[in-house]
Amino acid sequence: MSETKEIIITSDKIHTDEYLVNMGPQHPSTHGVLRLLVRLEGEMVHNIQPHVGYIHSGIEKMCEAISYPQVIHLTDRMDYLSAHMNNEAVALCIENALQVEVPERVKYIRTIMDELSRLASHQLWWCVMGMDLGALTTFFYGLRDREHILDIFEETCGARMTLNYSVPGGVMFDIHPNFQKRVKEFIKEFRKKLPEYDQLLTGNVIFQERTNDIGYLSLEDAIAWGVTGPSGRGSGFSCDVRKHQPYSAYPLVQFEEKLATKGDTFTRYRLRMEEMYESLHIIEQLIDNIPEGDYAVKMKGVVKLPEGEFYQRVETARGEFGVYIVSDGKKNPYRVKFRSPGFSNLFALNKMAAGHKIADLVAIMSTLDLVIPDIDR
């Protein structure tokens, strides 16, 4: 950037320039190749300008050249921590367009997998949040528990992160005979482990000092910038798609949409922790009642959507994920647009972090839970 000005020394005082720091594309706390152009005055952040596109992979454009079931395989490369939710969004969109009714069993399996993904994602977020604030031990606690979920995924569909489990009309394979047993074991164990998380980080004085009363986001700003997910709900923006436009088995379960009004970093942190309990609660309601039946309906060999526009949104771990498909009746989509939660959340960063210290910027960015391929697509 050629924005640096010369230092002018006058007789009475020294005019100094703003300190322009490139945070990223390679930086430990941007968790990927995000570049933030940060204007500093001493330690104070004046302005943050995110520059995206360093890992842009042209997924939306690629979708135009491939068939509908293949689109699903690209979606879990975007937000790799919410892979199953992304897959499901496309599958639901195609099913709605073709007006296919999926078996009850599929709905249950998808919802359980959704919530397991959410838990795994929140666990990783918690590890990284601690690490960003300098508490390196959290990283190992979170990864230890996340491993159990990934093992369940591996047994169910062979993959640990890029699941590709949902297909139009159902899921790719039936669940493993051990699935229910292992999930129940995991819930029992994780309910014991979650209080450890609070002991290690939430209750820590330094942690509370670092996160309380920083990075305020008002309800108006949250709505204006389209901040969704736990980040938006921390500001009181009721935006849980699972409640407002329930899909899969969500209409059948009891759960609470956690809302708070304060809108600071600690509130967003606390909401995510509470969401983990809610996720466990949802899985508990479903895991024993998975109905018998087919795991997928028979679809035609070549999926062709009728002409028109179709939109489906789901709640990923980061917020509202939308799939917009324009079809011209052929076997591949005319245009696909993904509404990714990370992109909208990132651009509210300037609103939240301007005027804070550079260390707060890291903490605030951490509660937004950014996944860079989700932003760049």
Binding site: S29, G134, I206, V362
Partner: protein
Amino acid sequence: MGFNIYDFSGMTHNMHLWFLERMSPTATTIVEWTIIGVSYMLFVALFGLFLVYAERKVCAAFQQRLGPMRVGYWGLLQTIADFIKLLMKELIMPKSADKFLYNLAPFIVMIATFLAMAVLPFAKGLQTLDFDIGIFYVTAVSSVGVIGILIAGWSSNNKYSLIGAMRSGAQILSYELSVSLSLVTIIILAGSMQLSVVVESQRDAWFIFKGHIPALIAFVIFLIAGTAETNRGPFDLAEAESELTAGFHTEYSGIKFAFFFLAEYINMFIVAAMATTVFLGGWMPLHFGSFESFNVVMDFIPPLVWFFMKVLGVIFLIMWFKWTFPRLRVDQILTLEWKYLLPINLINILLMSLVVLTKFHL
């Protein structure tokens, strides 16, 4: 030469005489200096390597893993392998760095640590410099290291390095106060700044017991401020990797990076050794007033063992801080010092003076 594990003064004295018989006084001085210098360098290198290994094992234990296990038995040779790697690495200097200062900075940091080591009493008679302002000397030379850090941050011509160095400067200047004042509390109790005298006067009871509550408060403050002085977590703002990549030593590689790295660990040792000497009785064994048989058994353990046991205990505490606490923010660090530690310290000195005046400690 009269080697005695409980008292080294005879041995060193005999050595001195042995050299004097065979060469001129000047040559003796030079030879003795060389021996002392080489021993310190060996000690710093070996103990530094050991501390790095210990840190990795301690941190692994906190994080439910094993740490280094592959090189040598239980990974004992891992740090040696790492340092050989660091020695062989290319030294990369940024094109726009200030070459002289850039090369100078690691040495200033190292020199400061060596200087501070000079007065530490490892055991009876095992002390290089024993002069009447020992404690004052340690606080003075240990703050020279910050100049090295500031120079490193400035000369690297890297924005992150400079922010790290500035943070480090502000932090060490502030916490220097707390370190000194908590030591002053004990100086009042001991009545001397000479480290050997301080240790000797703890023969019956360590100062942390003898000085009642003021000594305990001073010890806690010294631990907090000492951790901050060594730039370690939760006060590792100068090298906060999530904010400033590696802070002031971002641009250093190879052996120059190793110097900063080693200096951090040796500084931790110096803080622990000062805490041991001033609060925990130095190399003195643990004595309880009237338990004669217990005292005799304790006396049987050599002073060197006592010293290193205490030092390693304090080092373990400092490592424990690092691996459980998140990092403080720069303004919180300064608030903690100026608004809490400093007033508490001043009141504490007053309390200690009252204790000494009323002869409550005797």
